[in-house]
């Protein structure tokens, strides 16, 4: 059974189309990065998955309809919307008491264990904590819940690099196992690249790219071309070309590695570079269609 399955998922706010018929399938045990520019529909897609917004089309999360069965779904799904949603008045001990009081899958001892690794005191109120420590607290609460799906929407927004790294490290080391599924959206693409098993690009309410990391590594290659080989490289129809320090870097889809090695230095592109390339192709197609 797929963890998340959507067919023709649509959502419009007035005349603005936020989701334009999305089809997606996320299998259990994957870590999916949902990446897209601002206003692409990432948060709307997550809100639909979490049952926070009504939608058109078919959507099943863990075999349930998120809009009509939200309460039941929330026993198996956790989410961190962004860093600023813990109520400022709550004390750390009260947050633990409350979650333990209402959540059947919350392991209080586990949460306390995570908190002892931090400097957070039980008596502090959230308003007294720094942004980074609030995230640590939220993560400690969420990681102590034995959920099947964890959704993170810009979880590290506004945090410094140490906390961001710590966040993903503890997520991978202390939380993730192959029975759980994680969906994450972020703008800090480089930091999640090594974490993800799958990546999706979303733009203008559509999924424009959907690929597992293994596939990405075998299929896409980036070549820093020797100056005299640029013409030969261009003949192989790169998806995208950019210049860095006067060298031309070309990105290829499904071109033989041996063939490319003759043209220059070959490496696997970063998600960020691939994203720029895919968005460029998209823009080109849109322009072509307009003409």
């Amino acid at each position: 059974m797929a963890c998340i399955e959507a067919r023709g998922l649509r959502k419009a706010f007035g005349t603005t189309i936020a989701l334009d018929g999305i089809n997606l399938r996320v299998e259990e045990g994957r870590i999916l990065g949902l990446i897209g520019p601002n206003g692409a529909g990432k948060t709307t897609a997550l809100n639909a998955i979490l049952g926070l917004t009504p939608y058109q089309g078919e959507l099943e999360v863990l075999g349930r309809d998120p809009w009509t069965e939200r309460e039941e779904l929330m026993r198996d799904v956790c989410f961190i919307a962004d860093v600023a949603v813990l109520p400022r008045w709550i004390r750390v001990s009260q947050a633990l008491d409350y979650v333990a009081g209402v959540h059947p899958r919350f392991d209080r001892a586990k949460a306390e264990g995570f908190l002892t690794k931090t400097t957070i005191s039980r008596a502090s109120r959230v308003r007294e904590l720094s942004k980074g420590t609030v995230t640590q607290l939220h993560l400690a609460l969420v990681m102590a819940i034995d959920a099947k799906l964890l959704v993170l929407d810009e979880p590290t927004l506004g945090l410094d690099i140490l906390y961001r790294k710590q966040f993903y490290d503890s997520l991978l080391n202390d939380y993730f196992d192959r029975s759980r599924t994680i969906v994450v959206t972020t703008h800090q693409v480089e930091e999640v690249q090594h974490v993800l098993t799958d990546v999706m690009f979303i733009n203008h309410g559509r999924i424009v790219f959907d690929c597992s990391m293994e596939e990405l590594e075998s299929r896409y290659l980036e070549v820093t071309a020797h100056p005299e080989r640029i013409a030969a490289a261009r003949a192989l129809k790169p998806m995208h070309e950019r210049q860095v320090f006067g060298r031309n870097i070309l990105l290829f889809d499904a071109v033989d590695r041996q063939q490319l090695a003759a043209l220059g230095d070959v490496r696997t592109p970063s998600i960020a570079d691939l994203f720029v390339a895919v968005m460029g192709v998209q823009a080109g197609q849109a322009q072509g269609a307009a003409r």
């Binding site: 939200r70 929330m74 198996d76 962004d82 813990l86 008491d97 209402v102 959540h103 939220h138």
Partner: protein, 311 residues
């Protein structure tokens, strides 16, 4: 099943095993939701306690003159004696009731607005607590928690007043017989409880329901949104039909309806229990219509919360 040594990704069947079905009863979720409200809005209990403490402080200063006044009161007839002795006790009850009503109004206006304003609604919604449980737990504060709290604080205040007076009178060598015989503390408490349940909980329920609905709907200035439509309806009615039924209806509701008249006119004197007519109140259409309206407002607030995100 040795999942530890098994490096192969677990099958769906095994992953179901790691999540044992744990159940948390609806009552327990409700209990924690109400506690959550008390953590957040500490004014619910701080305000009546502070007012009671202030009142007791004032009363303590006043007891300096109590022996003289008591001597003078002994010359009065029993009815006047009764009124003289009972008066500060009724005043304490009114003061604390007034305070908790104001607390209830402001609590309701913020109940579903605050969580959207500070974005914490996204945290609350990430937990398996339904919108209905949340709205009902919030509604239980003005409908249940505050009336009972008012009762407890008032009775405690009145007992302390009685003990203070007794100590002062005994200290000055006066008899406490008049004080104790003329102060019907038990009937007074009973009447207070009836008043709180009948008026503050049942009769005022549609007021709280309306305020909570507005607080769940308004993006800002919930107080204005709560008051202006009512004012507009009244003004439009006046201009269009030159009548003021709507205003009269609101006034009737705020003044406490059929029971309210008994309390204000009689101001809880002499034999308060004989003035009450619980049977009449319980079958009055005003109360039942009010409760139905309150239920409709709360149902709308539940529905609204499903669609609402942070503002």
């Amino acid at each position: 099943m040795n999942t530890q040594s098994n490096a192969i990704p677990e099958s769906p069947l095994e992953s179901q095993v790691i999540a044992p079905p744990a159940v948390i009863s609806a009552t327990r979720r409700m209990y924690w939701s109400v506690r959550r409200e008390l953590w957040e809005s500490r004014s619910i209990y701080i305000a009546p306690l502070a007012v009671a403490a202030l009142f007791l402080f004032g009363f303590l200063i006043r007891t300096i003159h109590l022996p003289d006044k008591m001597r003078a009161a002994l010359a009065l007839n029993p009815v006047q004696q009764h009124e003289f002795i009972e008066q500060p006790y009724n005043f304490a009850a009114l003061l604390i009731m007034g305070t908790t009503f104001i607390v209830a109004v402001f609590y309701c206006l913020d109940a579903l607005h605050g969580e959207r304003r500070d974005r914490s609604i996204l945290f609350w919604k990430s937990l398996p607590v339904s919108d209905r449980t949340v709205v009902l737990s919030k509604a239980s504060i003005p409908l249940l928690v505050l009336p009972l709290l008012t009762f407890a604080v008032t009775v405690a205040t009145q007992l302390i007043m009685l003990l203070l007076s007794t100590a002062v009178l005994l200290g000055s060598g006066l008899s406490v017989a008049t004080l104790w015989t003329q102060l019907p503390l038990f009937p007074m408490s009973l009447m207070l409880l009836y008043h709180l349940v009948a008026i503050h909980a049942l009769w005022y329920a549609p007021i709280y329901g309306w305020l909570m609905l507005v607080s769940g709907w308004a993006r800002r200035a919930a107080f204005l949104w709560a008051a202006l439509p009512l004012l507009t309806i009244g003004v439009v009615e006046k201009i269009a039909f030159n009548t003021s039924h709507f205003g009269a209806m609101l006034e009737y509701r705020l003044s406490g309806g059929p029971e309210g008249a008994a309390f204000t006119a009689g101001s809880m004197s002499m034999d308060p229990l004989t003035q009450l007519n619980p049977g009449h109140f319980l079958i009055s259409p005003g109360m039942w219509i009010g409760l139905a309206v309150a239920a409709a407002f709360l149902a709308a607030a539940v529905r609204l919360r499903r669609y609402q995100g942070p503002i």
